[in-house]
Amino acid sequence: MNSNEWPLVFFTLLSQLSMGIILAGLVVILFVRNHELTANIELKRLVTFIAMAGMAVALVLSFMHLAKPLHSVYALGNMGSSFLSREILLVSLFLFSLAVAWSSVRFGIPSSGSFSFLYLAALITGILLVWVMARLYMIPTVPAWNTPLTIVKFFNSGLLLGAGALLVMVVFLNGKGIEVLRVQQVITILFYLLALGVFIHLITALLPTAVHEGMQPSFPLPVIPFAWNAARLLFLLLGFSLLAWWYPGFVSMTSRGAPSWAYLAIFLLFLSEICGRYIFYASYYRVGV
């Protein structure tokens, strides 16, 4: 992987986290089926703020990847055939919709009553963004990326990062004495979302790649250091094991449910995502020369 692709690692992960946290928030609301929960102002503020801040940082990182950032004024010029143009448009729209949703819950502008509508609009834009982001990498001449698995991996990263970030927020608010309604149910749902994300990651890691299907390059295949693969798997399993150990303690309110364990578990899962995205970029090879 080229060093100039590091900003892309964090740009894609942060964008997916922002989409994921909005999605995980909706899943929690739907499953808990408690209107009071949706009225939890602190949580709503934090969710939209973290998503918005994540996208703002992602936007800055996307500029760091460019050699001539000032020329990005032309970046919407090829909407007809370039997924990159579409991605840039959706990044801007997603950030704007998150900012409006946050403003409605923070300042009541445009109006606090429109929050649900704005939240859904942001979610739809975020899903579209991750879809376009995945399609951008599905280049016909890059067999390692040109697979539906890229879409699965990107959405699953969103699920894992989003549910993880939301879990940290809920635990943080709870620890600060700010009441999160039905907190145990919320944590249970987030725990199962994370379990699903870890399961999908493990399954996709076992599926055949382009190389298994005979799409060999003219040059030797890129070598991904074993340490990256090992670290990814280790962080993923260790993070989830720690979470699985912590979760019953939190629900039954024993000392083993202390917030620091949850923070550490989610931190390990995030490290695993960084390793996974590094491996994704490092696996690049194209047909031909």
Binding site: N4, K68, L70, H71, Y74, A75, F219
Partner: protein, 205 residues
């Protein structure tokens, strides 16, 4: 005007790389930027023939620049519309629009897009368009001592030399439909049963 294209005769190329040097010289390309590159392909193995071992090896060269594809994947992927195709079919980059995202470099299966670290933009072969206007051939064509590189209207080249353009290490034409005609080296047949390799990776990558 009709689509222009390159012809390359792999059966006669000696691999001297004069074309590569002429291109760099004409365009004053900085270190690391190679609009034209010469790939050294080799392979084969020893074969047992009765009590003796005989060689069954092959080697050829492929000189490659931008193929000014009929369906250029770089043009379709560029978000800035910095890559365009002119009336002669030449695929050109507007340096005032390129933002250096390098997405085109990821997509091109011919390695035609070369990033200029000094100017911070993507660059590529422009078919020596200025020479064409003066009625002169591209620098690589003029410099080749073996006369294995030629240029002209693609249809004419295909009528004269056929339409092959998929010799190793080049990709299948379905990706971009390159404006290129290649006369394969006879060793190309052997490559079907052995695994050919690029021998000068460090030089062309």
């Amino acid at each position: 005007m009709a689509q222009l294209g390159f012809f390359f005769d792999a059966s006669a190329c000696s691999g001297c790389k004069t074309c590569q040097v002429a291109c760099k010289d004409k365009n004053d390309s900085p270190m690391g930027v190679r609009w034209r590159r010469v790939y050294e392909v080799s392979g084969g193995e020893w074969m047992r023939k009765g009590p003796a071992w005989v060689q069954d090896i092959f080697s050829w060269h492929v000189s490659m620049a931008c193929n000014h594809c009929i369906d250029p994947i770089c043009l379709k992927s560029c978000p800035n519309n910095a890559i365009t195709k002119n009336e002669m079919g030449l695929v050109l980059i507007d340096p005032n629009k390129c933002m250096g995202c390098k997405y085109c470099e990821w997509t091109c299966p011919y390695g035609a897009l070369q990033f200029d670290n000094e100017r911070k933009i993507m660059t590529k072969c422009d078919f020596c368009a200025d020479y064409l206007e003066q009625g002169k051939p591209p620098a690589c064509v003029a410099a080749c001592p073996m006369r294995v590189i030629d240029f002209g209207e693609l249809e004419e080249l295909r009528q004269r030399h056929g339409s092959t353009n998929e010799v190793f290490p080049l990709p299948r034409k379905i990706f971009t439909d390159p404006a290129l005609v290649v006369k394969p080296h006879p060793g190309n047949k052997k490559a079907e049963k052995h695994s050919p390799q690029i021998a000068n990776i460090e030089e062309v990558r």
